[in-house]
């Protein structure tokens, strides 16, 4: 083993370091990852996140955030509509708005449970005890001729 090329020795040392620093993933994290498969839905179009105040520049955040009294603003868009989420009180309160105004309820989906909220006449829904964890919102239409609208998953 003494005639090993120096580049190989160096790379192998890097591999050793990287593998040593690789933490054991907690078993429940692995289980949650496996369980995520159950959320696979083929039929509905997913509204992609197109604005998150947490990643926009500071000036924009303060203008949008402060004017609405929110810690964080997220918007999702697809051809079928648009969902805006205003999160405040350290992630505990959520005010949502969906357009067009053709949805009767909004289902706040967490990996382990769901919460169904009424959408009012102006397309808004509200909850003041938002559970922690990944969130996706599915808007249920007033009639079957309209497709449901669901957002991408986000960590809140």
């Amino acid at each position: 083993m003494l005639d090993e090329p120096i580049e190989e020795v160096a790379l192998l040392a890097d591999v050793a370091t990287a593998l040593r620093r690789l933490e054991t993933v907690p078993a429940d994290v692995v289980e949650q990852a496996k369980a995520a498969f159950a959320w696979r839905e083929v039929a509905n179009a997913v509204a992609a996140l197109d604005y998150d105040s947490a990643v926009e520049d500071d000036a924009l955040v303060s203008v949008r955030g402060s004017s609405l009294g929110s810690d964080r603003v997220l918007t999702f868009a697809t051809d079928g509509g648009r969902v805006e989420l205003y999160i405040s009180d350290s992630g505990r309160r959520l005010l949502g708005k969906v357009a067009p105004n053709v949805f009767r309820s909004a289902v706040l989906r967490h990996p382990s449970r769901s919460l169904t909220l009424d959408v009012d006449a102006s397309g808004t829904f509200f909850v003041d005890r938002l559970p922690r964890g990944p969130l996706s919102v599915k808007c249920v239409p007033l009639t079957d001729s309209i497709s449901p609208l669901e957002t991408e998953w986000v960590a809140i």
């Binding site: 192998l12 907690p26 696979r40």
Partner: protein, 198 residues
């Protein structure tokens, strides 16, 4: 050997898309450590890293039909997890450095930069390892797992590889790894990777 192993990843992606939970579970086993490392390297606590991991896998469940190039799946997962981790980090409320002293103890900004660069390098190596053929993954892991390193005879016993093949195979595997590291560093540097299409 190389092709059959690449096929395994592709087979698992295709089968998962068709609804096979066992294939999905194998994807999780292959990539869970990588995603966890990305989140932790962004300075997240274990609780927040768990949330980032879960969000990343839920995203994949949503987008699995869009995976047209399984070889790029790792890059997509790394990019998604890193973006979610940075997002959660900036929200601030839950943001805790893994080990604040790690940076305070350093004498200069250069050293802190160096630590971050080395964390990036770790993730790139871990990522490249997930793309290596199983035989190479097993061999390289066997070569570095013990301190001091195992002899070729011990590695041969541990992996079932003839002792005369250990040296040459090691060389070929490290060369493949080097190429893969360069590739994944290129793929994950170009953010944001919106879709999985090649």
């Amino acid at each position: 050997m190389h092709n059959r192993d690449e096929g395994e990843l592709e087979d698992d992606v295709l089968a998962a898309r068709g609804g096979d939970a066992d294939s999905w579970a194998r994807l999780v086993e292959r990539f869970a450590g990588l995603i966890w490392s990305v989140a932790r390297n962004e300075g997240l606590s274990a609780t927040d890293a768990a949330e980032v991991s879960q969000t990343t896998w839920l995203r994949l469940a949503e987008h699995i039909d869009d995976v047209h190039d399984p070889e790029r799946l790792g890059a997509w997962l790394v990019t998604t997890a890193r973006r979610e981790a940075q997002r959660l980090g900036r929200v601030g409320a839950h943001y805790v450095l893994t080990d604040p002293w790690q940076y305070l103890d350093m004498t200069s900004a250069d050293e802190a930069d160096l630590a971050l660069l080395s964390a990036e390098r770790d993730v790139a190596i871990q990522h490249a390892m997930t793309l290596l053929p199983g035989r190479c993954r097993g061999l390289l892991a066997a070569l570095v797992v013990e301190e001091p390193p195992m002899s070729y005879a011990q590695v041969s016993a541990a992996t079932g590889m003839p002792v005369g093949s250990v040296g040459p195979t090691r060389g070929r595997c490290l060369e493949q790894l080097r190429v893969l590291i360069e590739r994944v560093e290129g793929e994950t540097r170009l953010e944001p990777a919106k879709g999985l299409r090649s």
